[in-house]
Symmetry: C2
DNA sequence: AGGCTATAGGACCATTTTAGTGCTATTTCC
DNA sequence: GGAAATAGCACTAAAATGGTCCTATAGCCT
């Protein structure tokens, strides 16, 4: 769990494709072929990304999509926000007013803190890094060592496939 | 998004209740009353937690549940693992063998890194901290400042309610 | 021994969320 | 005006989630 949706994963692949040639305008169908993702899905995702301001679109003949700003200025958090709304570990936040133990519940405070920790990590990673274009500066230094030690217990989780 | 399920949230509340009196054995129904969570749900969750080794159970008359080990030695990651399986940002990990762009996909590497960053945060927080019993040492120092600056843009997300 | 009280482990169903498709309107170039 | 593209919905199918119930088993007490 704590997974991102498949659509968000697709969106990342699409954005990464756009990031490789930022000034080149491409159509949704062209991107579908390039990424091997179903055309209607690509189209739908691009519309969402446009609304969120991550990609710019031109309509009409010879229209298409391109990144709205440099890949270095698009964070992973922005991508998640665009497709899934803001990160919130617990549902409680969208409250329906029926929490009985609200007053005595001390659990929330630290969930909130974790929430921010995760969000911070997502802010620090750019699309350029996700796409592998900015290899010089992946700013999660404290994790370099962790990656080796934790590889065994995380198992195949981190090995992503995109379809 | 990136939320934990409601059941995991419940589980945390239940565990927090157990953490307050670690040596006191309580029944599922007693915990249900205490936490105001529906009894069958509490029972179901406790069974899962028992299987995961987070709580110890005694059967028969005067049976019930208690923490299997001190609250300081139960991490948030362990709780999530128990209820939702290991954290994996992308579905790809549970592969069905139909990823077309596997070879050329450079996106995965950084998702993996983010995955570990998140996991690390979850490892560093114990049940004792979640329950507010161990206020002395909440080990996410770099976030203290972030919490203030980010409070505005995160909105009500972090304000949890438990029902 | 027998009954009461508790957990163990399923099977099961309703609801919600997610994924994916399709249709119509609009914009722009030729 | 027509062709090619995006914009914005509405809709359906499938999967995950949340929640309930039933039967089996273990332990204590009379």
């Amino acid at each position: 769990m704590l997974r991102i949706s498949k659509l968000t994963d697709y969106a990342t692949v699409i954005l990464a494709a756009l990031a490789e040639q930022p000034e080149h305008v491409r159509t949704a169908t062209a991107l579908a072929e390039e990424t091997r993702i179903a055309a209607p899905t690509v189209s739908k995702l691009l519309k969402q990304l446009q609304r969120a301001g991550l990609v710019a679109s031109t309509r009409g003949l010879h229209g298409g999509y391109q990144l709205a700003r440099p890949a270095t200025q698009i964070s992973a958090a922005a991508i998640l926000d665009a497709l899934e709304g803001p990160v919130a570990l617990t549902d409680c936040s969208v409250g329906h007013g029926n929490c009985d133990i609200e007053g005595t519940c001390r659990v929330s405070r630290v969930w909130q803190r974790l929430n921010l920790a995760i969000r911070r990590s997502l802010y620090e990673v750019s699309l350029a890094q996700l796409a592998g274009l900015d290899t010089t500066q992946v700013r999660l230094p404290e994790l370099e060592r962790e990656m080796q030690t934790a590889a065994t217990r995380v198992g195949p989780s981190g090995v992503n496939r995109h379809e």
